[in-house]
Symmetry: C2
Subunit: 131 residues, 2 copies
DNA sequence: TCTAATTTAATAAACATTATCATATTAGAA
DNA sequence: TTCTAATATGATAATGTTTATTAAATTAGA
């Protein structure tokens, strides 16, 4: 609603629907996931539009693209620095926020300028362990 | 040659060519990269075969699949635990090996069993910084 | 209210990866 | 060495994801 006025993009029902679906969403959905969810309320929306919107939101820093899943991109509305547990059993992606400031010795990175750090912890979630 | 006898797979010229190309390779090539490189010496090889071989090598633990690049898988013959610098400018992927055993508090991972840790450092390489 | 700029939706195209299957090759047994 | 069952290859089709195209619709500001 009003809260998205100052983002610097035109407000369309499609964009609002995607923003509302993503708001606080911790499931790290794919474009297809978002499309299906939004389609329930706005059956006329197109998948291409969802891709367009995600691209726009990414540029505006309102969403982050995750490369965690080799078969498709996944999106995260939490753009703060945080890390992920990735279940090798079911593909679930879970946030972990732990105080983490790695000491990276200069010698190890040879003039590379580090802008962002992402930690991936691969393993098995509780549910998948019980099988 | 002889060194690949005990892997538990049939030795074919195609497999040997891929293994030789990957041996000590630090460029984190895609399937297409590998196909192009191997094709120089074995022009009859098919891209599907490269995919088959990579799948087999992955199962045998001789190669690791990286999800670093959103547009395509990349492969790493170094299956030891190590981490990567990823250049947001040119897409280059560089190894970093630093002693890194994060202390992950149990409370942060809620019953998740961590099998593998991968650290991604996004930024700009020396070359890209100079532009 | 009017209008220029932007966005949408439908669809085609591009691209990476996987599936299919007839033919060829490997590795081990005889 | 020869034979043969099991496996691998190569050509190609199929699939799934993402991007490009473009006419029509919508937004936001004058
Ligand atoms: Mn997250
Ligand atoms: Mn590596
Ligand atoms: Zn799981
Ligand atoms: Zn670079």
């Amino acid at each position: 609603m009003q809260k998205y006025r100052n983002i610097g993009i035109k407000l369309t029902p499609q964009r609002l629907a995607v923003l509302e679906f993503l708001e606080g969403n911790k499931s790290h959905p794919s474009a297809e996931d978002i499309y299906r969810a939004v389609k329930n309320r706005y059956p006329m929306i197109s998948l291409a539009t969802v891709y367009n919107i995600l691209e726009t939101l990414k540029e505006k820093g309102l969403v982050q693209e995750l490369n965690i899943d080799p078969s498709k991109k996944r999106f995260d509305p939490d753009t703060s620095s945080h890390h992920h547990l990735i279940c090798m059993g079911c593909g679930k992606v879970i946030d972990i926020s732990m105080d983490y400031s790695p000491h990276i010795p200069e010698t190890a990175i040879q003039g590379f300028e580090v802008k962002r750090v992402h930690l991936e912890l691969y393993g098995l979630c509780q549910d998948c362990r019980e099988k």
